[in-house]
Structure formats: C-alpha cells, structure tokens
Symmetry: D2
Subunit: 403 residues, 4 copies
C-alpha cells in the first residue's frame, strides 16, 4: 500500500471496497438460487459459498478486531464459512459445501449487506490501524480471487448438467489474440543476474516476497500464447496417444481419465466445440488454448521442441522491453516452477499467515492472468498456483527455449 496516511488510505479503501463488493454481486446476475447451490467437485465451491466466505473474511479479520466489534450476523457462520484457517477454529467440510441449503442465497446476500454496512461505518470512521487497513486490502484482493473462482467453478458446475446450460447469452469467453494469425514467434531475453519478486511498495501477497536475485541464462520466449490452432496440430499428430511426449504421471492421467482434448471440448459433426459460459461454441483457432493441465502444457511443449519457461524467466521477460502479447487477461500461463517459498519468505503474522504458505507443496506456478481475472488484480510478480492435474481454470501456456 503506497498511501501512508491512514485517514486518506481509509477513504481510498472505502471506495475500493464498494467497487469490489459490487462487482462480486454483479457476477451472480443470471444465476438462480439453485445455480448458486451447486458443487460439482471438491475443488469447486458453490457460488453461494463464495459470496458468504468472502464476507466471512471481513467479519472475522476486520470487524471482530475492532475495538467495539458489532454483533456477528449469525454465530454459526464462523464455522460454516471458514475455508481453511485452522487458526480461526473449526470449519465445515469442504466436500459438503454443496449441502448447505440453509442459509439461503437471500440470507447470504443479507449477510453481505450487514457486513458491508458495518465495514462502511468502520472505514468512514477513519480510525483503523494501519495493520487493520492492510487486512482490508488483503480482504479485497482475496475477494477478487474468489471473483475468478466464481466464474471457473460455476462453469464447472454447469458443465456437469448434460444440457450444457448457457449462463449468459451475450458474448463468448473465447477471444481472438493479437498477432495469432501471423504465426508463432520467439524473442530473445538476455537474463543475467536479475531481481524478481515484489518490491513491497504497494499491496502484494506474502508469497511474492521478498524481492531477490536470481541468475537466468539467456533464453527465447514466445511472443504470444499457444493458440487452439497450435494445439489442434498437436492433437492431430497424436499428442494424446504418444507416451514419449508425457511425464509419467501425466500419461497415467491420459490413460485412466481418457483425456483426448482440453477440458470442455467435444467433437461432433466434423469439428471441435467447447462448453463456455455462453453455451457450446465452435473452437476459435486464433484464441489461446485453455483448460489445460500442467501435464498437457508440458507435453505440448515437448512436442513443439520447446519447454515451459520458469517463473523467473517469465517475470524477467515480462518486465523487459519485449514485444510480448497476451501476458495478461487471456490465460494463466503454466511455468516450469514448483510453488515453493522465495528465499527469505515469511508468512504474514496471525491466522492470515495460512493464506499462502501452507500450500507450498505439489503445485506448479502460473503467471499472468486470464480473461476471468478482475481488472487491476494481477501484476507481473503475481504467483498463481494449482496442482498439475487442474484443468478447470483458464490455464494455458506460452513456450520458451534455451539457446
């Protein structure tokens, strides 16, 4: 947070708070109470739960910490909408989030109103400590992460309905990327002894810290993301049927789960289609390929005679003066880096220290952002992370090559 006057900061955050919370609400448009109830797999939560849990965050970490904390909206929510904060106490089973029909969606929206009103009062009072204001900012960024999850999770929920319902009929979640028609190109990045990580002069997550030096050998990086057209060529050359292209674990997934295309794709009437938030659509060859697991991204890279960049390479290239398109707002880009602490990493103090650190095992880092990421949320040092088999996020890739 660059603004160091707490009172001014309080005003700025109050405005941001309204904006972020309002945007969350807008995401639910077109969804029924029943839609918001669905939980199609353990990794995806009901939209109603997202609405409640993000509110729980403010009630638990901000309102409860005020000198004169307001009454809780409902004491049972403390357990019901805790995601994974052991430091806060017990929590409801993740796998059973879809079984909570009560509170209803309308009660959860009332819960949001209740907390919003009290947050508004608290911020308007301009008396919050700097550390509490930092938690407000964390809460807003937390809510933005759940905004993206509302889209990816609800897409997955709907995909399990054999009728493939369209959420919104207006536009596609597949966009054409700039320069795609001109083919794939690589540009040189010199690397060297560079610094990566956040400088902590504004908000960032603790996992982006500390800024530190890394050595990077020179490498080439693709100027755009891999497209559906590129990926169809991999499929046409038997990509899903050639074990030599795959990590051993990846090949096991291909065989046991029958993967033959990205998630949500199906072949019919002589062509490939995919399920989108707007219903079924024909594959756009110029759009970046997405809904890939790490295994698929890595196998594609091997087939293409290239590799995935490391997260340090990606960050270095993204801060260079290189003509790279699609770094943000298209697809998250899998890197060949495991999600592990930076040298000198310290989790935040208190229960929010569980936010990132305790997940640093068996996950791979993704960089950039996707079409589902809210505006202003991502940045060049941002570390997204998912297990290697995660396919329901808007995850794609761009290639790198050594010299």
């Amino acid at each position: 947070m660059s603004v160091h006057d707490p009172q001014l900061q309080s005003d700025v955050l109050a405005a941001r708070y309204d904006e972020v919370r309002t945007y969350t609400r807008s995401l639910v448009e077109g969804l029924s109470e029943e839609d918001c109830q669905l939980q199609s797999m353990i990794d995806a939560s009901p939209t109603k739960w997202h609405l409640a849990h993000t509110t729980w965050f403010f009630e638990t970490f901000i309102l409860s910490a005020l000198e004169q904390p307001p009454e809780p909206f409902d004491p049972a929510f403390k357990v019901l909408f805790n995601s994974y904060y052991v430091g806060v106490g017990e929590r409801h089973q993740r796998a059973e989030r879809g079984l909570i029909s009560r509170p209803s969606l309308s009660e959860v929206l009332s819960y949001r109103d209740y907390v919003d009103q009290r947050m508004h009062t608290a911020l308007a009072g301009r008396t919050m400590s700097e550390s509490l204001l930092a938690l407000v900012e964390l809460g807003l960024n937390h809510e933005q992460q759940h905004q993206e999850l509302i889209l990816t999770d609800q897409k997955h929920h709907f995909s399990c309905n054999p009728l493939w319902p369209a959420w919104r009929r207006t536009s596609a979640d597949q966009t054409t990327q700039a320069g795609c028609e001109q083919g794939s190109q690589f540009v040189r990045c010199d690397g060297g002894l560079v610094e990566i990580g956040h400088s902590a002069d504004a908000f960032c997550f603790d996992n982006e810290l500390p800024r530190h030096r890394v050595w990077i050998d020179p490498f080439d990086i693709q100027t755009r993301n891999v497209s559906n057209g590129d990926y169809l060529a991999f499929m046409a050359e038997g990509g899903y049927n050639r074990p030599e292209l795959w990590l051993s674990e990846g090949w096991d997934k291909v065989c046991s789960l029958g993967w033959q295309a990205p998630l949500y794709w199906r072949y019919r009437d002589g062509g490939w289609y995919s399920f989108t938030l707007h219903g079924e659509q024909a594959i756009n060859h110029d759009a970046p390929v997405t809904h890939l697991s790490y295994y698929e991204a890595e196998a594609y890279a091997r087939w293409a005679g290239a590799r995935l960049p490391t997260e340090a390479e990606w960050e270095c290239a993204a801060t260079s003066q290189l003509p790279l398109s699609g770094l943000f707002d298209e697809v998250w880009q899998w890197t060949n880096s495991a999600y592990l602490p930076y040298p000198g990493y310290q989790p935040a103090a208190g229960a929010v220290g569980e936010y990132n650190g305790k997940f640093m095992i068996n996950q791979m880092v993704l960089r950039g952002s996707s079409l589902a990421t809210p505006a202003g949320h991502a940045r060049v040092t941002y570390r997204n992370f998912f297990p290697a088999d995660a396919r329901w996020q808007f995850n794609g890739l761009r290639l790198a090559r050594g010299l």
Copy 2:
C-alpha cells in the same frame, strides 16, 4: 384393480390421480428451491428430482402410449428424469442428480402442471385401455413410494447441514406407540400350511404375486415394535461393542463407520437426542426405535434372545386375529427374509417389468409401513426392501421367537 368397468375405472382413477398428485405437492411446502436441489448421498435423490421423475413416469408410460400423444414438455427430460429403466433408453447418472440446477424447481412444477392437465384430459376421455389404466394405477402407487422417499431423503439432506435445520416446526416424527408402557409381550401364532402373497383382486406390485403356500412352524411374535427404551438397554449393555452379537459384515460396519447408536442420534448434556424433520428432539423412550440397519436390528434381536420374523411369519401373524399393534404407520419392520422372487413370480411386461424384479439380490424384506408412508398405500402383503446397511429409512423391528 377390482373395478372392471373401464369407464368407471377411469373416473375413479382421475379422482385418485388428483388426490395423489396434490399430496405430493403438499410435501414440498416449507422447502425452498435450494432445499429441493440437495443430494447428500447416491442413495438419496433431490426432492426436485422426485417431483420430476414421478411426472416422467406418467409422461413416458401413459401419455406417450396414447393414440395421439401430446408433445413432450421437453424432450431432454426423457433422459434426465429416467431413474433406471433401461428399456426406455439412456438415463442421467444417479450420483449427479444434485447437479441439475436447470430445469429449476419452478420449471419442474410447470412440467407437473403440463402433464397433469394432459392426464386429466386423457382420463376424462374414458378411452384408455385396461392395460393403460393399470399403468396409471401403477404410476400412482409409484408416486406414493416417492412421497415417502421425499421425506426420508430430504431428512438425510438436511442432516448433513451442521445447523440441523427444522423443516416443519409443528409436530414430531416420533410418536408414542400404544401399549409400550406395559412392556414387551409375545403372542403365539400357530402357522401351518398357509397362503401368503396377494390375491390379485386389487392393485398390487408384481413382487407380491403369486399367492402361494408356505409351511410355517408355530412361533411367538412381539405385540408391539421394539421401542427406543428397549434399544437404549441394548446400548447400555454394550451392544455396539460386543462382536459376538453381530453378523460379521455388521461388525465390520460398526468398526469402520463408528456406529454407536441409530442414525441421527447424538449424545449431549447427559442424554440422547435425534435429528427429526422438526429439528433436534430428545429421545422418546416409548416411541418405536427407527433408523436402524438390518445389522442393528438383527444384533438387537440376538441380544434379546430372540430373532427377526420371516416375511411369511410376519404376514401370517398380521392376518391372524392377534392383538398386534404398530404393524402399520409406525416403522417398517425388518424381517429375516431376503428379497427374492416368490415361486412362480413373473415380472410385468414391458419396461415396467424393471420396476421390481431386477433388484432381487442382496436386499432384505421389510413389512408393515412407517409414519412416512402415505395413507392407503401399504397392505399386509406389501414387500418393502433395502440393503442391509440402509439406515436412512424409517426402519425398525419387532421380535419373533421359535418355541
């Protein structure tokens, strides 16, 4: 069907149709769209699904068979709401019934209206064949079975909400049984070469046929159902911790699932409570014990120095002039008979032949009826059946003894 004038029969069925369908609708009172969406386990279906599937039965087996069948309400429903009729075609995965947010509850209610109107017209026309009228009667009995399942399934769904919500605040689903305070008594039933099974002079399910002779040795049978108080004595004497009382499979369940009381019971503040449709309630010692698996019923009987009656014994006793209370409308009573075809059993012709016959393996018969069974549905020859580990139905027991 005892009425053999098809036109009169058509009128009678039209009245019954209205009554049964209206009663189903009344069961949903007090449930929200979200409540009706829940599926807490593969054995229990969403209430919305029950509403749709019972309607699908009439549309598929009656309306489609008319000379001039009406347009289907929605062609996709043919697959979506087929339960297990392979003869009808494909069907949606049972485990994923809870993921169908669309059609919504209100669309399903419109589906009911649409089918009801066309059924009404068809019945009013008095032109249905006798075999079609028989299918109408089957459909009504089918719907009554789902009426009971709506209650047992919705109870299970709600029980997975840690807040244990009460559906209806009015009364208890635990009733005091007559004669319970006077203790448990046995009466003698002479048996002999008797007939059991339905005489087919009115509606019955195919599994109740044919009526046939069986030899029964004389036996004693308990005049009332086993009560909560009786069962608490079993628990107090270590019933759940003594392997010698249990079938081997039952003991495995006790150990692996941690059973220490009937389903929905919990101990707190020095006493036992259970989750009911009306919220949490203290155990009533005089009420019949329920929510028992076959394993628990059988172990209780062994502990009590008795056994479960066979279904033939139960039916013989129930048609005797014996002073037995609670045969109906309290709890289904586990018998020591496997659910197998009667000698000479023939499944009904056509797809409805899948109704009963194909489930005749690894299930045990229950007799009587429960507080959740709709009035007029059960009878003395009725064969209910569930796997030995099923606990979410209103299942209890009464004891028998050889001489």
Copy 3:
C-alpha cells in the same frame, strides 16, 4: 456322529485324521515355497496359510482343551493363523496373509507334524470327551473345506501370473459330463410338504440343522448341469450385452468389470480357451460350465426361459428317485436361495459357533459339490454359500422351471 462309543469313535477318528491330513499334504505337491506364499486377492489365502490355519484349528480347539495341553508350537501362531474367530482373540489382517514369509513353508510343515503327533497321542489315549471328539470331526470337515480352497485359491493366484503357469501337467480340471451330448432335459419333481435339512444322525454343519418342513410346488428340474456349449449359445446371442437379462447389480458388474465370458476364459485364434490347474486348455463343450458368478448363472437362466431352483427344491429333487446326473463332483450349483438360518437354527456353543452363523447375510446358497471337493465331504443337505459376485470357485448351475 453316529458312533456313540467314545473309544471306538476315537479310533475311527484317528484313522480319518491321518487320511485327511495326509491328503492336504498331497495337494501341495508340485508347489514351491514361493507358490505357497501368493495371495492374489483378499478373498483367496496363501496355500501356506491354509496349511497353518487348519492346524491352528486343532491346536486351538482340541489340544488347548485337553486336561494336560501340550506347549504351543509357537505362541505367536495363535494370532497369526486365526481366521475370524473373535471369541479366540485377536487375528492377523486377512488382506496381509501374503506378507508372512516367516514362518516359512517348512516351518509350517513342522507345525503340522508337531500338532499331528500330539493329536495322534491324544486320540490314541481314547480319553477325549464326546464334545471334544465332535470338535475333532468338525476340524476334519473344516480341513476338507480348506482342501477345496487350496485348489481354487491357488488357481486364482497362478492366473495373475501373465505366463499362466501349469500346476500339474497330468490331466484337466474340465471333465465331460454324462448325457451332455443328448441335450438338455427336464424332469418333474412333485414337491409337496417335504422335510429338508440334516437329521443329525451323523456329522453335519450347524447350518444344515434343524431338519424342518417346507412346502414346495411341483416344478421341473434339468437332468444335468448347464454345459460350456449351452453357455456359449448364451454368449453368442449377446448374453453379456443385453441388460434386460440381468439383475441390476449384475449388469453393473458386467459394465464396470468388463465381463464378457466366465472367469479364466480368453478368446484367441478363433476359439475360447480357459486357464486351468494344468495350464491353458481349449473349452470342452460337453463339460459343465463353471467359474460363474450368481449374476451370470441367473442371467443365463432368464435367457433360457427358466430359473434357478431354490435350495429346498434342489434338495427335494436330489433325494427323489429322479434321473439326475452331476449333482456331485462336477460343479457347485447356484440356487435362488439366500444363505439364511433354517427355522430353529442354533449356532454351536463356544467360539466354533462363529463357524457359520455370522456369515448369514448377502450370500447365496450353492448345492452339490465340485470336482475339487474332497471325496466324502459333501452330502445332499450340504449348504455351501458365496457372495453373488464370487467367480473363482468351481460354481455352475442347473435350471429349474415352474409348471
């Protein structure tokens, strides 16, 4: 036990003991220490374990009960080779029997020698009580059951070796059945009010008691067992691909496990072959079909327009003067009866009461005996039982029909 002079009985049993124990030893011929170690699934035990457990039975129930019990061969064996007798104390995990390399096969054979010598001394002393002598007889019948299991289990173990090793090269475990070439015939059995069950005038298992009356309607029964040739006709008519022929659970097995033929069959070079104790052999059309689950037997019967007999029907027909071949020594014949207690059944006193009674749920009765059953073991009242999906036993069927 028909011999009531304990001294004479002791001598008779001593001779039988030698015979039975020697025969067990002969079964192991041709097996290496490694062969005897294998456990290919939880339902099948290592041959070494069978050798030890049958010995444990005599040590635990006879030798330990003597007035001056001998030292145990090894105190650890009490737990290690207890199968399921909770009354005896703890027992080693069934699934891990294949992980016991020590004691070695040769130590287990020494254990047998040790116990045999002491049993010999005890029987020669002619001082055992009648109840103890009854346990000796039970132990011998118990060992005979394990003799059959040694063959069926070892066959399964070997079948998991992709080389399909032959145990013995001498002869086939497929035999031609009398009258098979003359086609399938049915004969009438009058039934009526008959008695079934053992009269207890000689040894029998407790589950064959008490002898009791049952009413049986007249029925027809097949004069021989269903042959491989018959079953191939079922397969040729799409038996494994027609859900309407199957119980619902059976069809689930067909689909999830990919059943397309009896266990151990494979198609190659234009014909069907099966794995036998003597290696791979071409299917003999005239031999009784075997290695069928109940589901397959029941589906076959439906396809053939017939049904399985009940166990009472089987016993009634087998004691009639009917020209039935293959009742014994070919294949166990699935019946349409669940394995449940006879009216008035009482398990034996003490830990051996766990022998049969606690398994009376979710199993189906088989009657007759197989080529693997030791001579003199089976009888017309014998009740064998297995879960409906068990295929590794020598299980087949003969058909019945109502009138």
Copy 4:
C-alpha cells in the same frame, strides 16, 4: 566416464561389473525364497524382482544391441521385468510384481548367471562402442540404486509381518553420528553466483546436467543431521498435534494416517523402539533421525525456527570448506527443492531417456546418501527424489537458516 580409451574402459568396466553384480548377490544372503517374493505396497518391489530387473537392463540395453546378440534367456522376461520403459514395449503391472512365483528365485539367479556370462564375454572382447560402454556404466549405477532399494523395500516387507522378523542379527542400521553429543551448530555459507551440477567429466545421471550458474544468498547450515534426540523434542512439544507447524497436505496425512512418530517407531514399556533390519531396537538419541516424509522434515524445521536448504544451497555448502559431518552415508537429506529439470536439461537418447526425465513432477529432491547406499555410488551433485509422503527410504534432514 573419464577413461577415453574404449579398450581400457572395457576392462575397467568388466571389473566393476563383477564387483557390483557380486555385491547385489551378497545382499540376498539370509533371505529365503519366500522373503524374496514379498511385495508389501505398490512402491516397494520384491527382492526377486530387483534381481531380475537389473539383469533385464543389461540384457535389453546391452546384449540385445550387440552385433550378434545372444538368445534371450526367456523371451517372456522382456515384458515381465520391464519396470517403466515404454520405449521398450509392454510391461507387467507394478502392483502385481508380488504375484510372480514363477520364475522362481533360483531361476532368476540362473538368469543372472546367464547374462553375467554373456556380459563378461562381450566386455572381454573389447569391441563395444563407446555409447554401449556408457550404457554398461549406466546399468551398473542403475543396479546400485536397486541395491539400496532391496534394503529399503525388504525392510518394509518385513515390517508388515507382525512378528517383526530380523533379517540379520549382526549389527544395527542405526549409527551414532559424529559430533551429535556436542549439540546442533550452524555454519555460514557465503553463496554468491556459483555453479552447481555435474561437469560431465565422469559418469553421472542425466538429471545432474548441465552444470549451470545459480545465485545463492548467504545462509547458515547445520553441521550435522537432525538426530533422534532432536526429533523426540519436537514430538514432546506436540509436533504431531499442532497444525500450524505443517503444510496443509502434511497435516491431512497426519490426521488421516494417524502419524505420531517416524515410520517403524513404536512406543512400549516407557520408551520408543523402532523396527530395523536387525529386529526391534531402542531408539539411539545420537543417531540421525530417519524414515521421515518431506512433510515431517519440513514441519520439524518450522518448529526449530529454521528451514530446509535448497538443493543448490546444499551442494554449495557441501563443496565449500565447511566442517559438515554426515553429508554422506547416514541419511538422505530432504531439500526444499522440487525435482525439476536443470536449465538446458536434455534426457539421454533412446529408451534410457525415460530413466529420469519423465518423473520430474510432484517429487522433492534429497541430497547426500544413506547408510544403505552402496560405496562409491553417490556424489555431491547427485539428485535423489521421492514424493513428499515417502517414508520407507532412509530419509532425514539437516537444517538451514537465512540471515
């Protein structure tokens, strides 16, 4: 391989071949045919399989590639003893290695003799190409890896026998480490822009290449490995009961698997004991703690106010002039580095390219070597790797700290 005269190299390798192969054979001393048959979990293979697979490696990659390849010992072995080389063709299921009683141990030893003789002839002929000689060297290093696995796997197999048999009675597999009694100390390592990885001037695995630059900030590293005594203090302070010390996945393992101590430990008679290759032994406080998962090592480090070193830090410290004991021959030391390719990594050509590369996901790197590693096998650039939950290897840790 530093020797570039192929003829001389051939002679050197011939001597090494004898030595390595003989040592493998010596490991089997004291094991019966039954012991060598055991497979206690999918991750651990039977000792007989290790004996055969290492031989298969030479037959497949060397003998088959000779100008005049010898007859295969048994053509079936090509599939039976292939571990995971898809490029070679089909392979037997890993989970079923324990079901191969035939070939017997003695046939597998004959297989070893057969291949040894032909390898001896081929090497004595001094005509192998350099690339083939490189494969011989790879085969020897491969066999050394399996020598360690024979010890760790057989230990696991035996541990599943409730009698906890001792393999060898002579000495302990727990050793006292130098300097342990003087307590734990840290020394400073300056880091900087250093090189890690192998220089390729002698044999190494492809995953140690290429040598490359990395930047390392200064850090402190523990002079010895963490001891049992240290670890007991962690346990005494509730280490296994404090979720805040654990990665989220690690805590799930603690809870679901009931971890309360390192693998093979048990508490009895007032003290901790562990199962060793020599039977049960009291815990030696001065010995390095071992049989830890990554999760346990990482939680211990957090509790100790430290962290695990990265693999680059470990290698940098190990090549420094620092007074570090126990780098080798005690326990493999978990690092905080994921097993991923070095920049510029290229897998070896041909099927042996599957040796390392395809496992580079969801595994963590360990450095050093253990008491079970054969002499001369490990080196400072050696990268061992296992999934984070692997406990059956001789894995421990030493701590690091930032400044």
